[in-house]
């Protein structure tokens, strides 16, 4: 097996030819390359499959005897400094690389169909492969510089992908925001790396951990500095994994095509931060302050993500906030020191979230046929509803993903989330209570999505009938506020109207819409983005269309992910009771640190497990119940209202409840006001500084030489005027001076 390890430096380089060749081809022979289209998709999938086989091979080897392999080449050598490049294979690397490649392959297969009408099909594949490459490079890197290199490359690929549809101004802003926010994290990461290099003189992980451990053990180092630098390192992970202060880029990143969101949220970008913390855990674990800080940031993110997810209208943004919340769970687990639970959750969440995103992509794809290409419409959950009829397979897949993320027993996320919740009870009861209640919230918002999208009737007709996007309308179907009754009549009327309308679908309009979809002329497509009036007159017509199920290629990857979601939980469950750590994941991660179970017996207690599991499942059901309560399909709304009235007998209570709901809704809908805060405080102050600097540079620094120039010009003019060459004035001056002289003399 030795040879496999020897050649595993090749892992990140195997897919490299694809983006290189596509890039060269697009620049040098654009038309010929574009004609080949599909020819490029297959090699990228094929190469990634090779990597997957490779990493599966590596990890089977790791299961049998987990050992660490490291090979290093020197990159630059100076007198004082030598930077190295190499690879580092341990269990973490093998797990991550399997995760990246499997999700990567499925997303690539999916996007072959999803992007097939897009002009940038090839560009998309090049970027995707680049993304996978940089992520693979990140997980195999052996020292800090290499980590930083690939870290930045991940950031760049995400920039390119989020801004993939660059004609849309929102996407342009979003990609810049993502890059700059990540750069703030990189700033911390770089400073942390430099600081640790200053303390230890090493950039290589294992040496560095050992040196730090020794130094702290012998108390030879200022603990403040080590903590500071570790905190800075953690900053990088905060930005990439969208933890609390730097999470703002994540929902905006939804401007990219949906397969990208799946990739970013499942396997690549956000996993990078978790990976970094997991990789550096031996460093963090000797610094209890940092560990507590990580757990704290984690728990804040858990709550924030969950509350922000409650009232989003955009299906993808909603999923994005749920990712943020789940990442918070992982951070929390890492902060608590339960390394295994965090990685387990990373894996299960990755598959479930990839499934959800691909499902939402499929939904969006089918909605686009109805409402057009505008993401404000096709991703808007308010316009969806009742899609069960139209997209049954997608519905099933999405339901599986939802159930998994909610944490219901047979599905993957249940096992990992339960483990984290269990561990949190051992860590701190307060954190545990928050984490558990947020698990209920998770169920609530996930089922909110599910119900809004798949239950009831297709709401897109309402919008078209009304003709304008009325915000009160959202609030009614989302929250059931004041104007319920009058609207309800309206709706009932609408429904009747709609059923009539549905029958008279004219093929003419279908053709017209499709001609727009397939039209490769970007100008036309972009006009669709912006020209709402152009679309407006066809609204009643579009309403007659019904969404279609996606193609088989897309369904295939979703179904595969369903299988993953069903069975991936198995890697972390120990089936036999007698043997300790008999599951695969534990085998992989045996020698690793476990803070919480240090004292307790390392034995799986089924009884305790059952109690905990029941508790969390009950919480989940509670959440689901609430979701049903609020988002019951429209046609049974009246009964629902009665139920509400039963619950809230006094008027006062109702007002309070309404107020509370409103506040929560506003908080959530406005993204917790954090973006606004950043806008007001940071961006405005940077703008002020820029203006000040510009003024300073132009008026003062540039003003001085200009002023000197102008004064010398005037001086010259004056002298020229005086020295005009008129003899009479010379004589006059001469006599004047003589007179003055004489006057002074006497």
């Amino acid at each position: 097996m030795e040879y496999t390890h020897q050649y595993s430096w090749i892992i990140p380089f195997i897919p490299l030819p694809v983006p290189m060749l596509i890039g060269m081809g697009l620049i040098l022979f654009p038309t010929a390359t574009k004609n080949l289209r599909r020819m490029w998709a297959f090699p990228s999938i094929f190469l990634l499959t090779i990597v997957m086989i490779f990493s599966v091979d590596l990890s089977t080897h790791q299961i049998n005897n987990s050992s660490i392999y490291e090979y290093v080449w020197s990159w630059t050598i100076n007198n004082d400094l030598s930077l190295e490049f190499g690879y580092f294979i341990d269990s973490l690397t093998s797990i991550m690389s399997i995760l990246i490649t499997t999700v990567g392959i499925l997303v690539l297969i999916y996007s072959d169909n999803y992007m097939s009408h897009d002009q940038g099909y090839l560009r998309f594949f090049a970027y995707m492969t680049l993304f996978n490459i940089s992520m693979l490079g990140l997980v195999t890197s052996s020292n800090f510089i290499q980590i930083y290199v690939f870290w930045e490359l991940v950031g760049m690929s995400s920039y390119l992908l989020i801004g993939f549809w660059f004609t849309r101004p929102i996407a342009a802003n979003a990609c810049q925001k993502a890059f700059v926010t990540n750069r703030v994290g990189d700033f911390g990461l770089l400073l942390g790396i430099l600081g640790l290099y200053w303390i230890t003189g090493s950039l290589e992980f294992r040496d560095l951990f050992q040196i730090i451990n020794n130094l702290i053990y012998k108390n030879e180092v200022n603990l403040f500095f080590v903590t500071l630098f570790a905190l800075l390192l953690f900053c990088g992970a905060v930005a990439k994994s969208a933890q609390f202060p730097l999470h703002v880029w994540l929902p905006d990143a939804m401007e990219g095509p949906t397969p990208i969101s799946a990739l970013i949220h499942a396997a690549t970008m956000v996993a990078a931060g978790i990976f970094l913390v997991a990789r550096l855990l031996p460093l963090f674990i000797v610094l209890p302050a940092i560990m507590n800080g990580i757990a704290f940031i984690g728990i804040i993110t858990v709550v924030l993500g969950a509350t922000l997810a409650i009232a989003q209208k955009d299906i993808k943004k909603n999923l994005a906030y749920s990712t943020m919340s789940q990442l918070g769970y992982m951070m929390l687990a890492l902060g608590m020191g339960s390394y295994r639970a965090a990685l387990f959750h990373l894996i299960t969440h990755a598959y479930s979230k990839a499934l959800l995103f691909l499902g939402s992509g499929s939904i969006i794809h089918s909605m686009e046929a109805v409402v057009g290409y505008s993401p404000a419409k096709s991703q808007n959950m308010v316009l969806m509803g009742g899609l069960t009829k139209h997209v049954p397979i997608t519905k099933t897949c999405f339901l599986v993903g939802t159930l998994s993320l909610c944490g219901l027993p047979p599905f993957a996320c249940f096992w990992s989330k339960d483990e984290i919740l269990n561990d949190s009870w051992l860590y701190s009861p307060i954190f545990a209570i928050i984490a558990c209640s947020t698990a209920g919230l998770t169920a609530f918002y996930m089922f909110r999505i599910y119900l809004l999208v798949f239950e009831g009737y297709l709401n897109v007709h309402f919008l078209n009938f009304n003709g304008k996007k009325n915000s009160s309308f959202y609030s009614i179907s989302l929250w059931g506020k004041k104007q319920v009754k009058q609207k309800l009549k309206n709706k009932k009327f609408l429904l009747a109207f709609l059923r009539m309308n549905n029958k008279e679908i004219t093929s003419f309009f279908i053709r017209k819409i499709y001609s727009h979809r397939i039209n490769k002329n970007v100008k036309n497509i972009t006009r669709l983005f912006f020209d709402t009036p152009h679309f407006g007159n066809k609204k009643t017509a579009t309403a007659c269309l019904s969404p279609n199920e996606s193609d088989n290629t897309m369904l295939f990857s979703m179904v595969v992910l369903v299988l993953f979601t069903l069975f991936v939980g198995g890697v972390g469950i120990s089936f036999s009771q007698k043997e300790i750590d008999s599951d695969i994941l534990s085998k992989l991660l045996i020698p690793f640190i476990d803070l919480l179970h240090k004292n307790s017996q390392h034995f799986v207690d089924w009884y305790e497990f059952l109690i905990n599991a029941t508790f969390s499942v009950v919480l989940t059901f509670f959440g689901i119940f609430f979701a049903y309560f609020f988002y019951k399909p429209v046609y049974s709304y009246l009964q629902n209202l009665n139920l509400l009235n039963l619950f809230e007998k006094s008027v006062l209570n109702k007002i309070i409840a309404n107020n509370f709901i409103n506040v929560l809704y506003n908080w959530s809908y406005n993204r917790g006001y954090i973006d606004v805060l950043y806008e007001i405080s940071l961006i405005a102050s940077v703008r002020k500084l820029v203006k000040l600097n510009y003024f300073f540079d132009k008026k003062i620094i540039d003003g001085i030489p200009n002023g000197i120039g102008i004064t010398s010009f005037f001086l010259g003019e004056a002298i020229k005027y005086v020295g005009g060459g008129r003899i009479s004035s010379y004589i006059f001056l001469y006599i004047l001076y003589v007179l003055i002289f004489i006057v002074i003399w006497y």
Partner: protein
């Protein structure tokens, strides 16, 4: 050593070849273009050949020396010679000048003079980098200003006369200090003026005098580099000049200041340098932040890129000020790296100006669809400029930062502060360079003005951008190539400070 005067040939070839242009018939515009490119290419190949076969990399001493007595009575020699420090800039000069002449092909107005001036500038620059006599250094330094002035004042934008005058006043004014320093150093302690670099290296001065000399040289080089607050000529000049001139200015001219700082201030005046370097570091880190944030406020595309150059020059100053092996190596790498990146950015800005005829960023937008190739290359270069790993900018900046961290000279708190401030520049850089991208290319805009006809970059422009991109990426992947030039020389320079 060897009998053939290679360096003299390299220096003289362009200007001699250039003066032949004036003999050409006036009509043959195309002939002149290709003739000029041939001269440039010949010179570049000659340089490469000489460096390959007659230069030993592991020797820190001066090589390929030539001594010809020029003016007898004050001991003035035509003295050339190169070492590891000047190797990189000379190759960079050849490379960038060749590409700039290729980029200048659309210039039709008085093309004879234009190409002659380009070639004259070429000679002057190589002469500056390879002279071993301090007066010759000065002469070459001044000689190279004249073509730049003419290039600016004849082939520029609307405010070209203003900016050309500003340029010449700034540089000529700073040359006064340079001359004063040179005179003082050469006349000190002997009746015979010593103008030879080797002899001057071993000379020692009283500290006060050394500081005065140092100040003089610093002002001269600070204008050229530029170092704040003497930088304002640069955005004006770059904003107005034709883009091929801009390539030369950003690619080579700015590097002369940095080269002079290392060559004279560090090598000859090491005692004063170790006194001044904390201030240099401070200035450098302020410059990075200041120029980056000023760049954000600019509306003019070229000025914004110009300020980004100023900001990147801050790293150079930091590297020079750090007085550590790593830091100085990083500074030299930054010289080369920014030479490529800056030149390429100006080239692209110029080509897109040719198409759009718009100067201000807020008027642009949505150019990605009509010109995808320029968009691609521009994206790559912005990434290079914001120090994306895998490109040369990243490794240079990283090594400078590592140099600051490992520097023995400074107190801990200074190092932390400087690194911190510098790293803030790392956040500001993507803000401005990605804003350029966003404002120019992203979004969507209908170009229905009648006279705007777009075509994507043709083979010539594509060739230029790719040939600049190749060294940027290859240095980023294999920086040892540049380090192998300079490492020994850097060690020799730093041995003065121990």
């Amino acid at each position: 050593m060897n009998s053939f005067p290679w360096l003299t040939t390299v220096v003289v070839l362009p200007i001699v070849g250039g003066s032949l242009i004036l003999l050409f018939p006036h009509k043959g515009n195309k002939v002149i273009k290709w003739y000029t490119i041939c001269i440039c290419l010949m010179d570049l190949l000659l340089t490469a050949y000489v460096f390959c076969y007659h230069f030993e990399l592991d020797d820190p001493l001066i090589q390929l020396t030539e001594n010809y007595k020029w003016i007898n009575f004050f001991d003035f020699y035509w003295r050339f010679g190169i070492d590891g420090l000047s190797l990189g800039p000379i190759l960079l000069t050849g490379f960038i000048t060749t590409l700039a002449t290729l980029a200048a092909q659309p210039v039709t107005r008085e093309s004879q003079l234009f190409y002659f001036l380009m070639l004259a500038m070429y000679s002057g620059q190589i002469g500056t980098f390879s002279s071993r006599d301090i007066l010759l250094f000065f002469i070459m330094w001044e000689f190279e200003l004249i073509p730049v002035y003419l290039l600016l004042s004849m082939w520029g934008g609307k405010k070209r006369l203003y900016s050309a005058t500003k340029f010449i006043l700034y540089t000529a004014g700073s040359s006064v200090f340079l001359l004063l320093g040179i005179m003082g150093m050469s006349l000190y302690s002997s009746t015979e003026p010593t103008l030879n670099f080797e002899l001057l290296t071993n000379q020692s001065y009283p500290l006060a005098l050394e500081i005065i000399f140092y100040m003089g040289f610093l002002i001269a080089f600070a204008v050229k580099s530029p170092i704040i607050p003497l930088h304002t000529w640069l955005p004006d000049t770059h904003g107005e000049a034709h883009y091929s001139t801009c390539m030369l200015l950003a690619g080579i001219l700015l590097k002369m200041g940095a080269y002079g700082l290392v060559r004279i201030n560090m090598e000859l005046l090491s005692r004063a340098h170790s006194l001044f370097c904390p201030w240099l570091m401070l200035l450098g880190s302020i410059q990075i932040i200041y120029a980056a944030s000023t760049s954000l406020g600019q509306r003019n595309l070229k000025k914004r890129i110009a300020y980004s150059s100023v900001s990147h020059m801050g790293f150079l100053i930091l590297g020079i000020g750090s007085i550590s092996d790593t830091g100085l190596n990083g500074a030299i790498l930054q010289i080369i790296s920014h030479g490529f990146i800056g030149a390429a950015l100006f080239f692209l800005a110029g080509t897109s100006y040719d198409r759009l005829r718009l100067l201000y960023l807020d008027e642009m937008g949505g150019m990605a669809i009509p010109m995808p190739k320029i968009f691609t290359v521009f994206t790559l270069l912005s990434m290079a400029s914001l120090a994306l790993p895998g490109m040369s900018g990243f490794i240079a900046e990283l090594i400078v930062l590592l140099g600051i961290i490992t520097s023995q000279k400074y107190l801990l708190i200074t190092k932390i502060l400087i690194t911190f401030v510098t790293a803030i520049g790392m956040i500001l850089t993507p803000i401005y360079s990605l804003s350029i991208l966003r404002q120019m290319f992203y979004g969507y805009k209908l170009f229905n003005t009648p006279n705007s006809y777009f075509f994507d970059s043709g083979p010539r422009e594509l060739f230029i951008s790719i040939s600049i991109l190749i060294p940027i990426i290859s240095i980023g992947i294999y920086p040892d190539f540049i380090f192998s030039f300079s490492a020994d020389k850097v060690e020799a320079i730093l041995s003065n400070f121990l």
